[in-house]
Symmetry: C2
Subunit: 264 residues, 2 copies
DNA sequence: TCATGTGAACAGATTCACAGCG
DNA sequence: CGCTGTGAATCTGTTCACATGA
């Protein structure tokens, strides 16, 4: 944010909505599958089904890229694959470093989807000297002392952080200082970065908690018959902690079962 | 769906916006950290900074939960931790099964964030008989033949799919048939599920592609400013696919096999 | 006085529905 | 005619700014 984003209303301007960008990889995957089966064309309806979205949304998304379809027919699969790939910047090769080669880092290193489209694991980096030289997924791990040199030499602009949360910010700082401008963060921490650096995060724990929320709601609903329970049944839970009432003497602190704390 | 009401009328209904739900785990994490440091209260400003959002958004989010703050003071940390935990359903225990114990599945099994908050790995399941009985992260792997029994016996409602893409849909179908109603999918596939089942996906490849898009845009911007590729003919890189010409031989016939369209 | 809580303005994304073109 | 492409309507989410109440 806060970039010189004043006017950009031109014709086919570069202003593709973020939500659309996030779906392009989905379309690309579906198209690639069709391409492998030598399917020549698809309709928005078919492609949308394969990508798990509705067709109006898909057409709107494509309309931001340009008019790449043929009315009455559909989209040429190969052509669309190319256009989306180009739009996403996948016609070039992106060297990526993975920092933190624990269980997760190792799994990421071996992940097939990495190599598949334009991404190449340029280096695996870990702070543990004992790891240095050990090959993981066929790639030797390098010590983090060499992080800056590696990034510089290979022209790496995308970094993946798979370290413990406690060191993620400093790893991030070093990556950024060395020239990385896009970071994929697997550590359960909020990273702060300067303007111009993009961070995306992947957090298992957050995803599970979101699922739990909906799961809980389902459980609560099944008791009501069918109408939405509106203001109904609240605080079904057990040990109820005190409200922040300061009425009377100080501490309300009934610890009870405060959830476990987070890991490093 | 099925929620007929078009109007969300009165006071404080159970309708917490999805975007808010997705941020609650973030707040909870920040609050937990404060709690560990025995910080008694936080202002929306401070907490927002710790969670990486702006304070207006945070206050609005909290307002959907109720009025848990104290004007002129801020929020009681312990109290908020409890309220958010409860809202997310983390005051109860959620048994989770992980299906597909490859590199990724194993990494997930060992992930600390799992056990920390309300989630318990009830079982690790893999289709490979050679894996059966082998302990991973201290938990013995069970064969997928027993999937239904495990889910039923332990009352599992959340499943994690970490299998190859090719079998993800059938694993999903079995999970759902056995009673799972929330799925976290790490396989790079679109899963189709019946109504009432929630799916969230985590896809490394998609995240990287989104980063690549922005990365490319940065690169294009720093050179010459205006970069309008217009018609495809830009980077001569590699095979340039043909435009959707249907010249001669017309028939791209709608015959043959229908693409991967799956049934609703 | 101070920071929360919230109506109202704004911005962004999705859906509708149909014009337009092959 | 069928399907794309797109304005307009709608819905969802964010930001503003200030009344409210401890």
């Amino acid at each position: 944010m806060a970039t010189g984003r004043t006017h950009r209303p031109a014709t086919r301007s570069r202003g593709i909505p973020e939500a659309t960008v996030a779906r392009l990889p989905l379309y690309l995957r579906a198209l690639t599958a069709l391409s492998e089966r030598s399917v020549p064309t698809v309709s928005s309806e078919e492609l949308a089904a394969a990508a798990g979205v509705n067709s109006a949304k898909l057409r709107k998304d494509f309309s931001y890229l340009g008019s790449y379809g043929t009315r009455g027919v559909g989209y040429d699969v190969e052509y669309l694959v190319y256009q989306i790939s180009r739009e996403l910047g996948l016609t070039q090769d992106w060297p990526v470093v993975i920092v933190g080669i624990g269980n997760l880092g190792a799994a990421l290193a071996g992940y097939g989807g990495f190599a598949s489209r334009g991404f190449r694991v340029a280096a695996l980096i870990d702070a543990d000297p004992a790891m240095a030289g050990k090959p993981v997924a066929g790639i030797p791990v390098q010590h983090s002392d060499d992080l800056e040199k590696i990034i510089h030499d290979d022209g790496v602009s995308i970094g993946v952080i798979a370290t413990p949360a406690g060191v993620a910010q400093q790893v991030c700082d070093r990556l950024v200082a060395a020239g990385v401008t896009s970071i994929l963060n697997f550590a359960p921490t909020v990273l702060s970065v300067p303007d111009g650096v993009d961070v995306r995060k992947v957090d298992l724990s957050i995803e599970l908690q979101i699922l739990a929320f909906h799961e809980q709601r389902k459980a609560g609903e099944e008791a009501g018959g069918e109408n939405a329970p509106e203001t109904g049944a609240e605080t079904p839970a057990a040990a109820m902690p005190p409200a922040p009432r300061s009425t009377g003497s100080g501490r309300k602190g009934p610890d009870g079962d405060v959830p476990a704390v987070m890991p490093a």
